[in-house]
C-alpha cells in the first residue's frame, strides 16, 4: 500500500474538519464571552444561492471620524470603539489603527476616507432566516420601514470580533414576530 496518498488524504480530511470547527470555536467564544451591543440598522431580504434566504443587515453608523493626521488606504483594517447611548444603542466613538486599551472595540475595514471621515465595512452583513419566514420578513420590512423605532441588531463583541446574535424590533425577537404573523 502506498503511503503518500494516505498521508495526503488524512491531512485533507483533517483540514476539511478543522476549517469549519475553527469557525465554530471562534464564533462560540464570541457568543459566550462577548459584550452585547445594539446597533440600529435596516434589513431588506435578498437571497444567497448557497446559503439560502437572509436579511441584509446594514448597521446605520457607516462613518467614523478620523484622528488628526491619520490617512487610510481603501481596505485597511482599523479598530472602532463602540459606546452605548442613553437609549442603549451603540455608536462609533473612536477609530484607531491599534486595538484600544479600554471599551468595547471591533476590527473593521475602511472602505474609503474623505474630509477627516472614514466609511467602514462591518464584519457582519446578513442574518439568515428560514425559507418559510423570508417572504413574511419581506412584507413586514416594507410595512415597518418608516417606523421611528427601527430594527436593532444585537451583536456580541469579543476581542475585536463580532457575531450577529439576533435582530430585535420593539423589544421583540425578529423570528418571534414573523412566526406570530404567519400563524
Amino acid at each position: 500500500m502506498k503511503l503518500l496518498p494516505w498521508i495526503i488524504f488524512s491531512v485533507t480530511v483533517l483540514a476539511q474538519w478543522a476549517a469549519p470547527l475553527f469557525q465554530i470555536w471562534t464564533h462560540e467564544q464570541v457568543l459566550m464571552k462577548g459584550t452585547i451591543i445594539k446597533l440600529k440598522c435596516s434589513a431588506p431580504d435578498p437571497y444567497d444561492p448557497l446559503r439560502g434566504r437572509f436579511l441584509a443587515v446594514r448597521p446605520e453608523p457607516t462613518e467614523a471620524s478620523l484622528p488628526e493626521g491619520l490617512k487610510l488606504a481603501s481596505g485597511s483594517p482599523v479598530y472602532i470603539t463602540l459606546t452605548p447611548g442613553a437609549d442603549g444603542i451603540s455608536t462609533i466613538t473612536g477609530l484607531s489603527l491599534e486595538p484600544p486599551r479600554q471599551g468595547t472595540f471591533l476590527r473593521v475595514h475602511a472602505r474609503s476616507s474623505y474630509d477627516n471621515k472614514a466609511s467602514i465595512t462591518w464584519p457582519f452583513d446578513r442574518f439568515y432566516i428560514n425559507e418559510k419566514l423570508a417572504p413574511e420578513a419581506d412584507r413586514w420590512f416594507a410595512e415597518t420601514i418608516n417606523s421611528s423605532k427601527g430594527i436593532i441588531a444585537e451583536v456580541r463583541v469579543f476581542q475585536g470580533r463580532a457575531v450577529l446574535a439576533d435582530l430585535v424590533f420593539n423589544d421583540k425577537r425578529f423570528r418571534d414576530i414573523l412566526k406570530a404573523r404567519i400563524k
Binding site: M1, P5, W6, I8, F9, V11, T12, V13, A15, Q16, W17, A19, P20, Q23, I24, H27, D48, P49, L50, R51, G52, R53, F54, V57, A73, S74, G75, W122, P123, F124, D125, R126, F127, Y128, I129, N130, E131, L133, V163, L164, R175
Partner: protein, 444 residues
C-alpha cells in the same frame, strides 16, 4: 488510442482476416496490443456517476439553504458534519480499493466529498450569520477540495477546481486588492494541479474535457491577472485599466498557450485534441488581422510600450521565450510562425521611434509577415515538412478580405474579389484533399 478506437479496430479485424489483408500473426499481435479492458469505465457510466454526485451535493446545499431554525444548534451541526463524514468514509473505502475500484465510483466519491465540504462550510457560516462575499467562500472550498484530485485522481474534481479558480480570479479583478487576494496568484493555483500527474509523469493522457476546461480556465485566470496588473491610477475618471497594454499581454498568453510544451505523443495528436492550440491560434490570428488595419496601429504600439513597464509582462516574456526555445527544438515550425506575430508591434514601435516608416508601419509589417507565413505554411507541406496548408490558405484569404474591407473599391469590385477568394479557397481545399489521397495511395 482510446477505448472506442480500440473497439472499432477489433471489430474490423474479422473482416480484414476474411479479405486476407493480414496474416494470422499480425492479427494476433493487433488483438493483443489493442485489447479492450472490459473493466474500464464507459462514458455513460461516468456521466451517470458524476450526475448522481452533483444532484446529491446540490440537494444537500438546498436542504441547508432552507435553514432549519426549529432544530437546536447541535442537531444542525450534525446536518453539516454527517454528510462530510459519510463521504470521507466512502472516499477512504475507494482509496483502499485502489485500482480494483471502478473509475466512476472513484469520481463519484471524490465529487461527493468536495460538495459535502462546501455544504459544511456553508452551513457553519449560516449558523453564525457570517458575512463575506461568495468568492471568499469559494476560495476555501476549492483549496479544501484540491487534494482530492491528487489522491483519488478525480477528473470531475479537477474540472470543478479549474472552473472555480477561474471564476474566483475573474471576480478578484478589483481596484485596490492586495496581490495575495488578486488574480496574480492564479498561476500558483493552477500549479496546484501538478500533482494530479503523480510524480509529474503522466500515466494516461488527460481526457479531452479536462483539457478544454484547463485551457479555458487558464485563459480566464491569466487574462484576469493581465487586466489586474494594467490598473491605471489617476486621470479624469479616477482609476481604470490600460486596455492597450492588457491586449498585448493577452496576446503573449495566447502565444504561450500555442507553444505550450508537449511530449512526442502530444505533438502528433490531432489539433482538435489540443484546445490550447485551437484557442491560442484563434486569438493570434484575430490580433494579427486587427494589426493589419491602420487605425489600430497607435494603440497597439502604445500598448506594447506600456506593457513592457510591468514586471508581470517580463515574467510572461521569459516563459514565452522558454516555450519558444522548446518548440524550436521540437521543430514546431507552424506554431512558431504563428507566434512570431507577437513581437511585431514592438519592432514597429522601435522603428517608428528611430524615424523609420510612417504611422502605419505596423499594418504593413504585419500584412507582409502574415502573407509570408501563409505562403510558407502551404509550401512546407509541398516540400514534405509538417505544414498547415489550409491554415496558410485561410490566412491569405483573410488578408485579402481585410484589405478589401478597408479599401476604397466599389462594392461591385469587392463582391467579385470575395467570390474569387471563395472559389480559390474551395479549389485549394479540393486540391489538397486530392493530393493527400494520392499520396496515401502511392504510399500503400
Amino acid at each position: 488510442m482510446n477505448t472506442s478506437h480500440r473497439r472499432w479496430l477489433l471489430e474490423q479485424l474479422p473482416k480484414w482476416e476474411q479479405e486476407q489483408l493480414l496474416t494470422a500473426d499480425s492479427l494476433r499481435v493487433l488483438r493483443e496490443r489493442y485489447a479492450v479492458d472490459e473493466s474500464e469505465v464507459g462514458l455513460a457510466q461516468m456521466v451517470m456517476g458524476i450526475l448522481g454526485a452533483l444532484l446529491i451535493g446540490a440537494g444537500l446545499i438546498a436542504v441547508i439553504g432552507y435553514n432549519w431554525d426549529d432544530f437546536s444548534r447541535p442537531v444542525r451541526l450534525l446536518f453539516a458534519f454527517l454528510p462530510l463524514l459519510l463521504t470521507q468514509l466512502l472516499s477512504m473505502r475507494v482509496l483502499r480499493g485502489g485500482q480494483a475500484i471502478a473509475a466512476w465510483l472513484r469520481e463519484t466519491a471524490a465529487l461527493l466529498q468536495a460538495l459535502a465540504t462546501g455544504a459544511c462550510i456553508a452551513l457553519v457560516s449560516q449558523f453564525y450569520h457570517l458575512g463575506g462575499e461568495w468568492p471568499d467562500f469559494l476560495f476555501w472550498w476549492f483549496l479544501l477540495s484540491l487534494p482530492l484530485t491528487w489522491v483519488l485522481r478525480s477528473n470531475a474534481v479537477a474540472i470543478f477546481y479549474l472552473t472555480v479558480i477561474a471564476v474566483w480570479s475573474v471576480n478578484q479583478v478589483d481596484h485596490g486588492k492586495p496581490w495575495q487576494d488578486s488574480p496574480l496568484i492564479y498561476p500558483l493555483l493552477l500549479l496546484g494541479l501538478l500533482p494530479y500527474w503523480p510524480g509529474l509523469r503522466s500515466r494516461t493522457p488527460l481526457p479531452i474535457s479536462v483539457r478544454w476546461v484547463m485551457t479555458l480556465s487558464s485563459i480566464l485566470g491569466l487574462c484576469s491577472a493581465a487586466i489586474f496588473v494594467c490598473e491605471r491610477q489617476g486621470g479624469m475618471y479616477g482609476f481604470g485599466y490600460d486596455d492597450d497594454a492588457f491586449i498585448w499581454l493577452w496576446t503573449l498568453i495566447a502565444a504561450a498557450l500555442v507553444l505550450f510544451p508537449l511530449n512526442h505523443a502530444g505533438i502528433h495528436e490531432s489539433t482538435g485534441r489540443k484546445p490550447q492550440v485551437v484557442l491560442g491560434t484563434l486569438w493570434l490570428l484575430g490580433y494579427g488581422m486587427a494589426a493589419t488595419f491602420h487605425n489600430f496601429n497607435n494603440s497597439f504600439t502604445r500598448g506594447v510600450s506600456q506593457a513592457l513597464k510591468l514586471p508581470w509582462c517580463w515574467g510572461l516574456l521569459a516563459v514565452l521565450a522558454a516555450f519558444a526555445f522548446l518548440a524550436f527544438n521540437q521543430r514546431r515550425w507552424s506554431l512558431l510562425a504563428l507566434a512570431s506575430v507577437v513581437p511585431l508591434p514592438l519592432v514597429a514601435g522601435q522603428l517608428s521611434q528611430a524615424g523609420i516608416g510612417s504611422g502605419s508601419l505596423l499594418a504593413w509589417l504585419v500584412t507582409l509577415h502574415l502573407s509570408i507565413i501563409g505562403l510558407m505554411l502551404i509550401l512546407f507541406d509541398f516540400y514534405g515538412s509538417r505544414g498547415a496548408p489550409r491554415l496558410g490558405a485561410l490566412m491569405l484569404s483573410m488578408l485579402i478580405i481585410a484589405r478589401m474591407a478597408d479599401s476604397h473599391f466599389s462594392l461591385l469590385i469587392k463582391g467579385f474579389v470575395f467570390i474569387a477568394v471563395g472559389v480559390a479557397f474551395l479549389a485549394f481545399n479540393f486540391f489538397m484533399s486530392r493530393r493527400h489521397r494520392l499520396a496515401a495511395q502511392s504510399n500503400s
